[in-house]
Each structure stands twice: as C-alpha cells, then as structure tokens.
C-alpha cells in the first residue's frame, strides 16, 4: 500500500501552496484562537469530508512523520481510511492507528482519549469556524465583534438553553475562549472533549476548507468553555460503561444492535478501546 504515486509532489500539494498554508499556520499559532484566512485549494474529496484538515496535514507533514487519522474517534471508518491511504500514497509516510506513536493526528469530531504529548500535532477538520455565525449572519460584523472582544451575545445562547432546558444543551462544538481573548469554535467535538483543549501539550491546528479559515491553539494554552457562574460548564457523557472494554470514563457511541431495541455502548475511540482490551479489560458485552 505504501507505494508512492508518481507525478505528484510530496503530500499532494505543491510547495508554494504549502508555504502559503504554513504562513497562515504561523499567524494562527501567534494569535491563538484567531481565524486566519487562507487560499483553500480544491482537494480530491468533497467539502465537508475534511478538505481543511487534509490541507493543514499536507502542510505540516514531513517524511519522518507517523500519521493517524480518526473520524468520530474511529480509525476504521471510510473517511479516516481514505485520508490515511491518501497520504500513504502521496507522501509515503508511515501510518498508524496507535495514538501514542503518531506524530500527526488528523481528527474529525473527537480528541483521542489517551493524553497527547508535546511532540504531537492534532489537526482538526472544521466545518464552521465562526462561533458567532448562528447569532450574527454578517461576517463583517462578526469580525468586528472578534476585534472588539464583544462576546456577550454568545451568552444569550447559553441563557436561552438554561431557560428552556435547565442546562446548556450544546452537546458539540461548544464555544470556548482561547487565551482569555478569542472566542473559538472547537469544531464539532463533543463538549465532553472540551476540557482536553485546555493546557494540552500538543499543538492543535484547525482547518476549515470550504470557509477558508485556519486557526490554532498553541501548546499549554488556557482554553475555557463558556458558562455562567451559577451554571458551570459540565461535560456530558452517556451514563454507561463501555460494553467491550468496560471503561467508565471514555466517550461512548450508542450502537443499535438488533431490531428489538438492543443497544450497545462502546468507546468511540477505537484505539483506546482496543488497547484496553489488549491489556485485559473486558466489558459486559464483549
């Protein structure tokens, strides 16, 4: 499989495009949480499948990197497999499903359960980079709000949730303040993963291909989820242990297993679940 395709530049994109992307990435790292526009390219996959993430990965990938790609936490879904194979073919880099040995992890919808380290980069695929988009349709106005740090209206959304449901009902893409300055959409990761953004040792890069924006959280940056003093942020999790590995702390997928309403709760992070099972942990449904 690791046969490198001839006729393509290393990691598909040409060097000038990668330079442009790296300039945007440097700016993004310099201003944590701030969205940097970049010239997003047509990629050989549709918008919404990770065109932003794949471009960021291409820009930071080196020949010695080990790449892991996850989609909803899983290494074996179509999107993850395709992107992993894409870079194996166009860059000839080693790929893995093991979180600890990967140097670059491209992700959609999850942060791995295992803590990441300083020599890893986490690349997020972002559909909508603008956290204010649902409140303020004008992009010019949202830019002004970011410039002046006018984020009060974001709390109106939280207020409405508490009023209607008794708690903040944002379960994914839960808005965060980065470095105490910029409001940021953490991509559609579950709110459960939000605390992992805070003070993460790994570099976090966010690429939105269709919206043509890049942003970043440098290592060890303060990231706070929005909340009220009397309704502190709380990360939700299905109240079950994993059916396969018995983990009580991981984020779970609910899988319908038959036509009689049977349910199976399993770790959404497949590598985490497999590693635990290999170490002898067994869940009730294994």
């Amino acid at each position: 499989m690791n046969e490198i395709l001839q006729g393509y530049n290393f990691a598909y994109l040409d060097e000038q495009t990668k330079r442009m992307l790296r300039r945007a990435l440097l700016k993004a790292v310099a201003i944590p949480g701030h969205q940097i526009p970049f010239g997003s390219r047509e990629m050989p996959l549709p918008y919404g499948w990770g065109t932003g993430g794949i471009q960021v990965t291409a820009a930071v990938l080196g020949p010695n990197d080990v790449l892991k790609v996850i989609d909803q936490g899983a290494d074996d879904t179509t999107n993850a497999v395709s992107i992993r194979r894409f870079f194996a073919k166009t860059a000839g880099v080693a790929t893995t499903t093991d979180t600890a040995t990967a140097t670059i992890i491209q992700t959609r919808h999850r942060i791995p359960e295992f803590p990441l380290s300083e020599n890893q980069i986490l690349v997020y695929q972002v559909p909508q980079p603008e956290p204010l988009s649902k409140l303020e349709p004008s992009r010019g106005e949202t830019r002004r709000m970011h410039a002046l740090a006018e984020y009060g209206s974001m709390h109106v959304r939280l207020y409405e949730d508490i009023t209607r449901f008794g708690h903040v009902a944002i379960s994914y893409d839960y808005p965060v303040m980065v470095g105490g300055r910029y409001l940021m959409a953490p991509s559609p990761i579950p709110a459960f993963d939000n605390p992992k953004l805070h003070m993460m040792p790994a570099l976090q890069l966010f690429g939105a291909g269709r919206e043509k924006r890049i942003y970043a959280i440098p290592p060890y940056t303060n990231v706070r989820s929005l909340d009220f003093d009397d309704h502190p942020f709380c990360a939700g999790r299905a109240p079950h242990p994993c059916g396969l590995c018995g983990s009580e702390t991981s984020y779970l997928d609910e899988v319908v297993v038959d036509n009689k309403g049977g349910r199976l709760f399993v770790c959404s992070d497949t590598d985490y679940c497999e590693t635990r099972r290999a170490a002898g942990h067994v869940g009730a449904d294994a």
Partner: protein, 259 residues
C-alpha cells in the same frame, strides 16, 4: 461655547444627502435628566439628527460633544469605535420605532432584556434573570411572560420590552425614534405614561424624535422644531407650543386638531 454641565452639545451640524440638505447648521444642547423632543414633518431631518447625535451617522461638518460620567468631554465622531460601541452598550440606549428590528425575535423576553447585561460582563444566570424579571415588572409586563418569545407579544408589549431591554443597564441618555409610532391610541397613551414615569424616576436624559406634537407636549421639557434640515425654533415645550414664533411652527401647531 459649551455649558459646564451639558450632557450632549452639538455644534453647527451639517449633512447633505447629495443635493438634499438633511441638516443645516444645527446646534443642540441636552442637559442631564432633560427630555428634548425633535419635531417636524417627515423628511425634515429629525431621524438624521438623532443618528448624528448618537454617532451612528457622521456629519459633513460640525461636532457632537458628549460628557462622560467623569465629566470630560469626548467628540462622538472622533472617539475610537470600541469606545463608541461601549457607550451604546452601557451609558446610552436606543429605542427604535420598530421593536421587531431591535429585539431578537427568536430569543425569550428574559434573554432579550438580559443581553445588554451579558454584553457588559454579567455571568450569573440567576442574577440576570432576576434583573430581567424586575425590568419586565417595571414596564408592566407580567413576570410569567419572561420565558415567552417576543413573537407572541402584542405591539405595545414589544415596545415596552424594547424599553426594558434598553434601560436594564441604567443608561444616562436614551435616544428614542418615534417610540409610539404604529401603536393604537390607547396603547400609545399607556406607553407615554410609562415612559414619562420612567424618565422622571430614573432621571434619564432623552432625545425624542416624534412627528406627534402631543407626545412632545407630554414628555419633553424642551423642543426643537425642524424644517428641511434647519432647526427653525428651539425653546421650552410649553413656550414653543403655546406661543410659536416661527411661521412653520405656527402652521404645525395650528394643524393639530384640538380634542
């Protein structure tokens, strides 16, 4: 020449829209706690004057001074945008003719009232909600409507909700653009009564744009009569309305049906 205690002092404002003069050499003063009515027929530059005074529109010539609570004067049109926006969020309020344009129609009444508090940094849900309920009460909206959407409110309630939303941050100065426009007469009367009592109790200064002389008579301490962008007459409300000097003011006053 600016008085030491004036809140707003506008000097020699001029603004043209192409060849149309919207404001011609208009000077206006406003003191703390005072309600100033700007009257005139439609197209006379009333709303333009309001927009220029509030910094929403930039004049071709002239200057608008605002005295902040610390007592120092600032030019509304040269102050940095963040400072002007901060003024609009806290010290100033703006009541529009159409409450639907000012309110968030998909957000509950409580959320609408609380928005300015949250914009100022309030982060305690219980306190924000309590304050919102308190303000709904002050504008005579039943407190169990706090979780209802504005789209289920009547026109008069919407306007009162807009007033609650504006006053929740205790502004010193409120700009009102035809606050009673589009409401039926009995609702108008109730709203005017409410505005009058709120203005008196909170010691608000207000610039009130209206084409309705009875609204001006009821609410305003002083009055500016505008015609084709020119402030043709200024003075105490009763004085101007009972003894109009300028021919246009005389016409305006005499055209009102005596009830």
């Amino acid at each position: 020449m600016i008085a030491d205690d004036s809140l707003i002092a506008a000097r020699n404002l001029s603004l043209h829209f192409g060849s149309i003069p919207a404001l011609v050499d208009v000077s206006v003063d406003l003191w703390p706690g005072e309600v100033l009515a700007v009257v005139g027929e439609s197209g006379s530059g009333k709303t333009t004057l309001l927009n220029v005074l509030s910094g929403r529109m930039r004049p071709d010539e002239g200057v608008v001074w605002y005295r902040d609570p610390a007592g120092s004067l600032a030019d509304v049109h040269t102050m940095p945008a963040p400072a002007l926006r901060a003024l609009h969020r806290s010290d100033w309020g703006f009541v529009q003719q159409d409450p639907r344009a000012a309110l968030r129609m998909a957000v509950t009444a409580g959320g609408n009232v609380g928005e300015r508090l949250m914009a100022q940094g309030a982060r305690h849900y219980g306190n924000i909600r309590a304050e919102a309920i308190d303000w709904l009460r002050q504008v005579e909206i039943d407190e169990n409507r706090v979780d209802d959407l504005p789209r289920n409110f009547s026109g008069g309630m919407l306007q009162r909700l807009q007033i609650a939303r504006t006053l929740v941050t205790h502004p010193r100065l409120v700009f009102m653009d035809e606050p009673t426009g589009g409401l039926d007469v009995s609702v108008q009367a109730r709203l005017l009564d409410l505005i009058r009592s709120l203005v008196a109790r909170l010691n608000l200064a207000a610039v009130l744009v209206t084409h309705d002389l009875s609204v001006a008579r009821l609410l305003a301490h002083r009055i500016v009569v505008m015609q084709r962008g020119v402030a043709v007459e200024t003075g105490l409300t009763d004085q101007v309305l009972d003894d109009p000097q300028h021919p246009y003011t005389q016409l305006l006053v005499s055209s009102v049906l005596q009830a």
